[in-house]
């Protein structure tokens, strides 16, 4: 009985997470700091997270390449939180603007592509005690509420 309920819960959560799987929105960043949003279709046999991160690592011509390839140690979901464990060495030499737009690009892409994800937790080499590229605090989780859309606003 209990395992049955558990299966239903897991299935429901999975459906929530991958509802928008076939139409992910990728937020690339132009040199001006403006976003360039592209809708992509994720093939059924692809890992959706790997697919969108791979897309971010290989931006179209004219967009900034902010996410290095092979930057992740591990990617996993716990309930409604996506954990992104990254190699700290991948981000050495990042300027403030690069790391700031990397965060916005990553978060907006994730939250606009996976409805079931409510939080993103960044880790560097498995820990959250050190800032990303020396400036961005990763002790805290990034929320859907704030980063669902491109968060840079004009007054």
């Amino acid at each position: 009985m209990l395992s049955g309920i558990l299966k239903v819960v897991v299935l429901t959560l999975s459906l929530c997470i991958f509802t928008a799987l076939y139409a992910a929105r990728i937020y690339y960043v132009l040199p001006s700091g403006e976003p360039k949003v592209e809708e992509v279709k994720i093939p059924e046999d692809e890992n959706p997270f790997s697919f969108i991160f791979n897309a971010l690592s290989n931006p179209p011509v004219g967009c900034l390449r902010l996410l290095p390839e092979d930057a992740f140690r591990a990617i996993y979901v716990v309930r409604d939180t996506l954990y992104l464990d990254m190699y700290s060495e991948s981000f050495t030499g990042y300027s403030f603007d690069e790391v700031r737009y990397l965060i916005h690009s990553l978060m907006s892409t994730i939250f606009s592509s996976f409805e079931g994800i409510k939080w993103v937790k960044l880790l560097l080499d498995g820990h959250d005690g050190f800032p990303l590229a020396g400036t961005v605090e990763i002790t805290y989780m990034f929320s859907r509420e704030v980063w669902q859309d491109w968060p840079v606003q004009s007054p």
Partner: protein, 351 residues
Amino acid sequence: MLVALVAFFSVLCLGLSFQIGNVREEVVSFKQDGVEYVSLSSLGKALSELSTRLGVDFEVGTFGPMYFLRYGDVVASFMVNKSILSGPGFVKYLPGPVIEKDGEIFLPIHDILDVLGLTYKVVGDTVIFVTCVIERLRLEDGLIELEYKGEPLFNVQVEGRFVEVELTGPSIFADKALLPKEVSVEGGYDNPQRITVELANPVSDFSVERSAQTYRIEYSVKVPSFTRVVLKMSEDDTAVKNVFENVLERFGIALVAKPTNAEDEVEIALIKSRHPSILYEPEAKEHEGYFHRQAVLSKRLAEKLASELSWTYEPIYLTLLDPAVVAVALAWPFDDLERIAEAVGKCLVEF
């Protein structure tokens, strides 16, 4: 030949001009035997303009062989070839006679101006008529009052704690007594260009009321929510800090070296960036509402600053920002420092 030479050296064209307000006009004038003369027609034209500006009666005419000038309450009479100016209750002996030449009447300029009670300054070859005489400056809570005679040549500007009254034309202080310590006069009593009143707190609103003899600036001040700023930078930059310190001081805001977590303290982080923006920390899940107020105020301050500077604003968690206090970061190329610091001061005062 000798007579012609004597005549040439004894009569010199002066090239004198009269200035009223910003209008300057050359007048018919000459110097003879060391006395500076001006034509009655030039003088009459200037007095006519002054009478219009200052609302003073003016008349010029003849009475038998005598000429007279009436300006306000003063009437001065004179005759050609006589060295006397006279009127009700006074006789003034002139340094030279009134001259008739080429159909024009000429008068010793300084004597006639003095007799008519005009306020003027001579700068080079220009006689500048002062059309605004400040007789008194009174300070009260919420009020700056200027008593004046003549034209209200005042233009008021307010910046933070400073109320500046720009004098838009030739003016003078009638009373040379010391002004209150809060008042400074650029240009001095005889040639004031700008009167600055330094208040204890920044002005939040002001209005101007003008009557024939008084110019009243009524203002209200705001005691700012934030009176102390902790400036944070990834690398200490004394020059940047100094600009912020000087500018914020004008808004009644002091820079403090270290956070004290006081209620009236705000943290401002400065980050060098190509893309100008105001950054704030949104409320994080980990805070569980502990810093809700700070997060809300930080975002509101970021929005206000962005609006003031025409920049964008955005959320991000930064090591330079403390979620436990109201804090924002300014990211820009570190240019235009004074303007940015002024915007910070203005926003904090109005916050």
